[in-house]
């Protein structure tokens, strides 16, 4: 399913990466599908609906919410690592999440390679997208000596 605009805006605000960067990963739809699969369409819609009115300015409040907070943090980690992290028991109790879906796992080889954390730290995923021979000898990007 194509990731809806609301999900992308939400993701951008959560991750600190622009829409262009998020689309550039090529796995936005994969994440949206994974979320819908794990949490159900209704829960994802509810989460996005909780975000929309406040937008970015409302994020601190949303992240403090007992249900939406943990879900939003899992969305961040999904984008950053390409993996699903197990939701805490208190959250699972309130949601129709199947235990088999809530196991920690890498969504796919592609999402592993597209994890935003690698970009954030000025590196590349371990085992993929190598920078080339000897680049490790150079000063890190943005470094002023």
């Amino acid at each position: 399913m194509p990731a809806p605009t609301a999900f992308m805006a939400f993701s951008s605000a959560l991750t600190g990466f622009s829409l262009v960067e998020l689309f550039g990963t090529g796995v936005a739809d994969t994440y949206y599908d994974a979320l819908v699969h794990i949490l159900s369409q209704a829960t994802v819609d509810e989460l996005l609906a909780a975000y929309e009115p406040g937008g970015e300015a409302g994020l601190p409040r949303l992240l403090a919410h007992p249900l939406y907070g943990p879900l939003a943090r899992n969305v961040i980690k999904l984008w950053y690592t390409g993996s699903w992290e197990q939701l805490p028991p208190a959250v699972v109790l309130r949601l129709p999440v199947a235990p088999v879906d809530n196991v920690p796992r890498v969504i796919s080889a592609e999402t592993y390679l597209e994890g935003l954390m690698w970009k954030a730290i000025g590196a590349h995923p371990m085992g993929g997208k190598p920078l080339g021979y000897g680049v490790w000898a150079e000063a890190p990007a943005g470094h002023t000596h």
Partner: protein, 615 residues
Amino acid sequence: MHKLEHYDVVIVGGGIAGAIMAKQLSHQQQRVLVLEAGAGDPTLPYDSYLAYLDEYYRANIKVPNAPYPDNPNAPQPSVLDTAPIAPPVPNTAGYFVQRGPNSYGSDYTRALGGTTLHWLGTTLRMLPEDFELHSRYGRGVDWPISYDDLLPYYEMAEREIGVSADVEDQQFLGLHFSPGYVFPMHKIPQSYLDMWLTEKLADLQVERDGQAYPVRVVSTPQGRNGMPNPAYNNGEGYVPVGAVGRPDLGQRCQGNSSCVPICPVQAKYNAWKTLAAANPAYVEVQTQCVASRVLVDGSSGYITGIEYKHYDSQNSGAYTTHVARGTRYVLAAHAIENAKLLLASNVANRSGQVGRNLMDHPVLLTWALLPEATGPFRGPGSTSGIPSLRGGEFRANGAAWRVEIDNWGWNWPTGAPYSSVDQLVDGEGRYGADLRQRLNAIIQGQVRLGFLVEQLPDPFNRVTIDPDYMDRLGNYRPVIDYTITDYTSAGFAAAKQVSDAIYDHLWATDYTSYSPADAGHVTYRGQGYSYRGAGHYVGTHRMGTDPDTSVVDPRQRSWDHPNLYLVGCGNMPTIATSNPTLTMAALTFWAARNLLEDIAADKVLAGAELSALAE
């Protein structure tokens, strides 16, 4: 299942040791059978390597064995199975039965190609003084051969593995090279972090046992492809060996930063390269064949066959039993599996030393945040080290170590960058641009040192077998007894002091923490230290000059069975401070030479008998 009724040589194990044997013997027209316990297509198709890579990408916990699936018919240890041990209750969570009291923290791989599939590729030579530990410092034992004896074989091993290093950097603590020698390839560029540390630590001195030592950062020889040195081999040069089945790939290290557990392009050496270079007309490799017993003729002492269990599928424990026969035999199944096989067969053990003197490099990790960005998570796992304290008079009192400078931040001790994301998101509630920047800032400052601490041969550190603990095919599981002695702990204490001095000197914030809940934890003089395993299994069938105290003779042949050679790190009498595989590979070239010499001697004998008959 094997094809011929009789081979010249039957080799057990398709790792680097077995592969070197197969290569050397097959190029001398010896018919060789390699029995390999694990899975793997003997034709080594490139696609099957890619399947390991995909497995790695999708693995949730990227431990060294993550790309190489568990195989209940040829089980392998996993670092995830280690835990503190409360004797007398053993830790039986994984393949090993660990009786402790300390935890043995290392794994190995049972698949065609063996553990070099996930090794890091550090290829240091031993120091000359390491061969004389007992006569110099009254500790451990001496080797029956010297550094100079091994020197030509080191050169063969460096060619086989494809070592990148500069001789100029490696002449320390008595290490010397043949006149005019250069390594096949120039040194791998040192990381930005290495160079930063070189500059900052240039004026630092540390003390051990009242003597001052410099803290010198030196490039590390590595078994990964760099720039060929045109001066190699008297000006003949060297052509880097690329990926098996895709030789255009992996001619240079590209900085994939995943050498452990898998180099995506095979720029890093693995034993497939040596297997692929054997003479195919003379080598037969059979996988899914687990050697279970070495058969011996009671009166002559000659080995008569290798009994093995062949399974069709990893999904079922069904197997058939066969016997492979040859004129000579080589066990190359890894230090633990070799010892297990000998014990299960009751062979080669007149000395009672089989399985004993098991060692590793317990690795003391320390980690800190630097005041500057140094660009971690780029490049090979380690490109430099601090070898200044690998040798010295202090070895009379406490273990030596080498320091590995790591290029992957806190990945090993804390699981960064994953753990850093968790900490910032869950722990500190960060998100958005602030999260992105903060993550960059903390990762960029991450530095991690590893002290590979020496252990002494100790007869009570050992692998044994016990019929109560069998695997699915009815083969023995290794039972491990392991104690970290005070000699090694003294090395931990000295290592931590030096680490403190380094971090202080760098104005770094030390985040090292050790907990009794860690799998490997010891207390020494009131301080707790946690160590990890290095994967350096050494000493389980050591060589020596006395058949009463050693398992193989200086030529690497069993004292008890004239047609049996043992190869692998099990032959090494001490572990010293270098990662063992280069030295073991050198010994294996030496063993291959000696085995060929035995064959030639037999021919002369046979010829003499023939001419005697003719007369």
